[in-house]
């Protein structure tokens, strides 16, 4: 058995990344250097990454921990954003401060999650995926159509910033630390939850619902809890997103593509792994917002007349790249690039593991006998 992976300065990889992110704005030369090299500010981009990472954490609770495929997380993101829109823009009489709206958005999204989850969570896996997909589409159409409440495709704006201090709009750092702070708090919450009775019950449910039920766990209640927490985190991310844009944006910002993008992040990063969710979002958002524009710019410089042909732009290949990534991951590395040790063990029961994991069998696989032997092979 190989020795456990070295961890930098006694921190976990996740802790190390958070520490680096916390320190990043304190060294303005990085920011200036990167800006000079690429023409875009990393400090402006990272808060968006943090918001999507928060959304990915929420989705991870449902898909990663509990094993329910959720294809409509964007709807709960939208509930958070529109809660911010309704309770903080001048169009309505509330105009509550940000610090009230932030938890309110999370609560509203969790409430909607409970409402949707209560009747639907007893459904089988792929039917549940369809219900969430359908719910996401219904939410999008509704947001577009009830113009009197949501202002249709214009979106509600302007959403009040947390403070009136001029630094809020001049400097990237206040929002950077706000979103990073929320993200770290969520990571701590999830870390503790993973080790708690509830977190272990979720994983038991994912691995074998029937067995978990026989052991006295209540699948309905557990799934509902996962749904509420996941939706709540998505709502929190939604409030932050709307605050950053100072608008709820077009309802198309909360469509199936957004949901599936987050699912892609989790699958590339590793289902059920917090580090995987964070790095998966960084990779894919980085691909979309940093790598693609740079390559497109380079192609444009090299072949100035390429713009007219869509297959000569890198953006044109985006869907194929994402699709191929999903297929290859599922085929060759279903545990993701940065897997949690338990999921990795589940999917490759015959490989040695660096950390002891209780042996668990997967329903259909033929590796059951090997799995019972644990990491011995």
């Amino acid at each position: 058995m190989p020795p456990p992976a070295r961890k930098p300065f006694g921190l976990s990889w996740e802790g190390g990344i958070f520490l680096a992110l916390l320190l990043y704005p304190l060294f303005p030369m990085f920011e200036r250097g990167l800006f000079a090299a690429t023409g875009r500010s990393l400090g402006e981009q990272l808060p968006l990454v943090f918001i999507f990472a928060l959304l990915a954490y929420g989705l991870n609770v449902v898909v990663g921990y509990t094993g329910l495929l959720h294809l409509g997380i964007a709807a709960f993101f939208a509930v958070g954003a529109y809660t911010a829109g309704i309770f903080s823009t001048a169009a309505y009489a509330f105009q509550w401060p940000f610090w009230v709206v932030l938890p309110l958005g999370a609560l509203a999204a969790a409430g909607v999650g409970l409402l949707l989850g209560a009747p639907t969570l007893r459904l089988r896996g792929d039917y549940l995926a369809l219900v969430t997909l359908g719910f996401g589409e219904v939410t999008k159409f509704t947001l577009k159509n009830v113009v009197g409440i949501t202002a249709g495709s214009q979106g509600l704006s302007p959403i009040n910033p947390p403070t009136d201090h001029p630094a809020w709009s001049d400097d990237f750092r206040p929002f950077y630390y706000l979103t990073l702070g929320v993200l770290i708090l969520a990571a701590l919450l999830l870390r503790n939850l993973e080790r708690s009775r509830l977190g272990r019950a979720w994983i038991a449910l994912r691995e074998d619902e029937l067995a978990a039920n026989c052991m006295g766990l209540n699948p309905a209640k557990l799934k509902l809890a996962a749904f509420a927490l996941g939706s709540g985190l998505a709502g929190l991310a939604g409030v932050l997103y709307a605050t950053r844009l100072t608008s709820t944006a077009d309802p198309n910002a909360y469509d199936f593509n957004r949901s599936i993008f987050l699912v892609c992040c989790l699958i590339v990063g590793g289902l059920g792994s917090r580090l995987g969710a964070l790095l998966g979002v960084m990779l894919l958002v980085g691909f979309d917002n940093i790598l693609t524009p740079i390559i497109d710019g380079a192609i444009q410089q090299q072949f100035p007349d390429a713009g007219g042909k869509i297959f000569l732009t890198f953006t044109g290949w985006r869907l194929a790249v994402f699709g191929l990534a999903l297929i290859l991951m599922m085929r060759f590395r279903p545990e993701g690039l940065f897997p949690s040790s338990r999921v990795k063990h589940e999917l490759h029961p015959d490989e040695a593991v660096s950390e002891p994991v209780e042996p668990i069998t997967m329903g259909k696989t033929t590796g059951e006998v090997a799995a019972i032997d644990g990491g011995k092979a």
Partner: protein, 325 residues
């Protein structure tokens, strides 16, 4: 029975019914592919809608290669008006004859390359792979037809086939939709019920392991099921393109979801269920846009999907099944 010439409530209602049934027959054709594949491997083939979309682009390319006008290309092309009825029918038949094997081959290839290696994997894996395949096919469609809606040659007219004094319209397009979809559905039903291969399909759907033990090559049967589903989607694509008049690389997603809703509504895995579900979805869409509002039809259809899944997950014609352990 005679109707007043002025549109009354009932003539309008009957008109929505005709249009809805025509659209529904089209959706049913796509739904059949979903339901057959789900019935045999329990996989929601998200890529099915995009196979349908590629069929539309193939039909368009065939017509362009035949030298038909349209698409803003050069002069000296055949004018639509110069074509007689039989020439137009021949072109439609040619499109169908090429689009059906094309889409069948794509669907078979997807199964062979992507889904077959995942047959024993956890259920999430093929589902996520199907989404991936759907993305790739959409990208192919984007390169093939561009990001904008593309006009499809109007080979079938909007002429009314009914006498004018009924106040109703049954257009030549509607007749074409029924003329293509209904025979295909009947042929499929007969094929599954009365041929040896159809029997093998039903056996594989019921219990793949037992079917294999009885000497059925289940992998081949599953592959053929994918091919037949794809061929039906190809026929659906030609009919859709002729009926609607425009195609785009995103049309697979929306219509695929409508078709899947239809399959679930009728009872997934059941062929008559897919037809019934398709017709209901078509009616809902047309009644919805007439009596609720055009912009709400999408929400209405997905709302139905949720309600059906919650209250009767086995669909209208399905019988309750126990979860396989």
């Amino acid at each position: 029975m005679t109707f007043a010439v002025e549109p009354t409530f009932w003539t309008a209602f009957l008109q929505q019914t005709i249009d809805g049934l025509a659209f529904g027959a089209l959706i049913a054709l796509i739904a059949l592919g979903y339901t057959m594949v789900y019935g045999i491997v329990e996989l929601i083939n998200f890529a099915h809608g995009d196979v349908f979309m590629l069929g539309g682009f193939l039909a368009l390319t065939v017509l362009v290669l035949c030298g038909l006008e349209g698409l803003g290309v050069d002069q000296n092309r055949i004018k639509l008006d110069d074509l007689g009825l039989w020439a137009k029918a021949g072109l439609i038949a040619l499109c169908l004859l090429l689009a059906m094997p094309f889409c069948g081959a794509i669907n078979f290839g997807i199964d062979y390359m992507v889904y077959r290696p995942l047959r024993t994997a956890p259920r999430l894996a093929p589902l996520v792979s199907a989404i991936g395949v759907s993305f790739i096919l959409m990208n192919v469609g984007l390169f093939w037809g561009g990001a904008q809606d593309v006009n499809f040659p109007k080979l079938v007219s909007d002429d009314n086939l009914l006498p004018a004094d009924t106040g109703l319209r049954l257009t030549a397009k509607n007749a074409m939709v029924f003329g293509v979809t209904v025979p295909l559905m009947i042929a499929l039903t007969l094929f599954v019920r009365f041929t040896k291969l159809g029997k093998a399909m039903r056996a594989t759907a019921q219990n793949p392991t037992a079917a294999r033990l009885m000497g059925i090559n289940t992998d081949a049967v599953i592959g053929i099921t994918f091919a037949i589903g794809g061929a039906l989607a190809g026929a659906g694509a030609v009919v859709f393109a002729l009926d609607v008049g425009t195609i785009s690389y995103t049309m697979g997603f929306q219509n695929g979801l409508y078709a899947f809703t239809a399959a679930v509504l009728g009872g997934i895995g059941r062929i008559p269920g897919a037809v019934l579900g398709g017709l209901i979805i078509g009616l809902v869409r047309y009644y919805g846009s007439a009596y609720v509002g055009e912009s709400w039809t999408g929400a209405l259809i997905f709302g139905i999907l949720i309600v059906i899944l919650v209250f009767r997950p086995t669909g209208l014609l399905g019988s309750p099944t126990r979860e396989k352990v």
